[in-house]
Symmetry: C2
Subunit: 186 residues, 2 copies
Amino acid sequence: MTSRDAAATKQRILDQARGQFAQHGYTAVTVKGIADAAGVSPNLITRYFGGKDGLFLAATQVAIPVSDSFDGERSALGSRLAASIVQRWFGTHGDDPLLVLQRASGERPEAAEALAAFLDENSLEPLHRYLRESGIDDAEARSRAAAIDAFVLGVSTRRRILRWQLGDAAELHTWLSTTIQRLADG
Amino acid sequence: MTSRDAAATKQRILDQARGQFAQHGYTAVTVKGIADAAGVSPNLITRYFGGKDGLFLAATQVAIPVSDSFDGERSALGSRLAASIVQRWFGTHGDDPLLVLQRASGERPEAAEALAAFLDENSLEPLHRYLRESGIDDAEARSRAAAIDAFVLGVSTRRRILRWQLGDAAELHTWLSTTIQRLADG
DNA sequence: AGTCCATGTGTATCAGCGTACACATGGAGT
DNA sequence: ACTCCATGTGTACGCTGATACACATGGACT
């Protein structure tokens, strides 16, 4: 029907793909399933993305968020990080490519690598640098950075993989904020 | 060949199944793959476990560890928990049914539920109770328990899903111990 | 030695998946 | 009005996965 707009159709397919991959991983998701959800024939997926593999690849292109959480006093680091996380979870529309990567990490080794690399670059390393620059000894900074990183990943996993119930945004912010601050200050 | 011992064969199948499910989830693993790895015809899986589903079910039966980590002073809680975790990771042979549950959580909803329930019962709740009994206000105890729980899950995910490198057992113990203690003490 | 059942295999079947190939059709440009 | 290509579909095909069915065989027991 008629909407005969290639760009929009592509986007619809991509959205549905991300949604299903984010929920069920790679193998368990079928091309036909995605096509049906997008209201399209399976062939279009082959045409537009070169096949299931290409579609998956396209669905995992992660937009790197410019994080300003690492500018400012350490006393408010927890608050800034918490705000950034809460916003990412409650504010963003559509499924997170990072979740797709985590879900598919067992079936596609490169997904695990990509996710690990992303977390290293965008969480672990910046944290480490920030803490060190705030006057903390290198080894200790590394240790605390790893703790915060693991904590955040754990919360994310609890919430998105295991469907955790954790109150509203404000409550979540408070909890994340104080916990992260605690880990940062030692 | 020749070993014609039903119990042993069953166990071999089960071990291989756990290994593959723990690595790749459910759908991506094939009955033939497990059978080959176990040196057996696929039919035996149908016969002994009633099919792929039954095998998965059998592979996720988790032996509940009697935890003594919650006996003792709070000042050493981190150390006791860390020891328990390290031992579980370095000491145990074979793959962890809990990892199977986590990996399959997207493809089999009941796996996600089972894992969440297990963590609630064996991590979150005991922690909450322990902290409260050690004289901490209820809401605060709940908050700290959730923090420790999420942190441990995060470390586990980083390590097992994303193949984290984190030194030897002793080093890991120290880090876990101090971090958990920090979260417990507030 | 002979019987019989637990233990295991070879082959066939059926369904579903990904995708290639031929075909339809709307709509922009002339 | 006509052409033509981008956009989309219907059908078919090969492959693989799970499992059902018929068959083989070792070894415990008489």
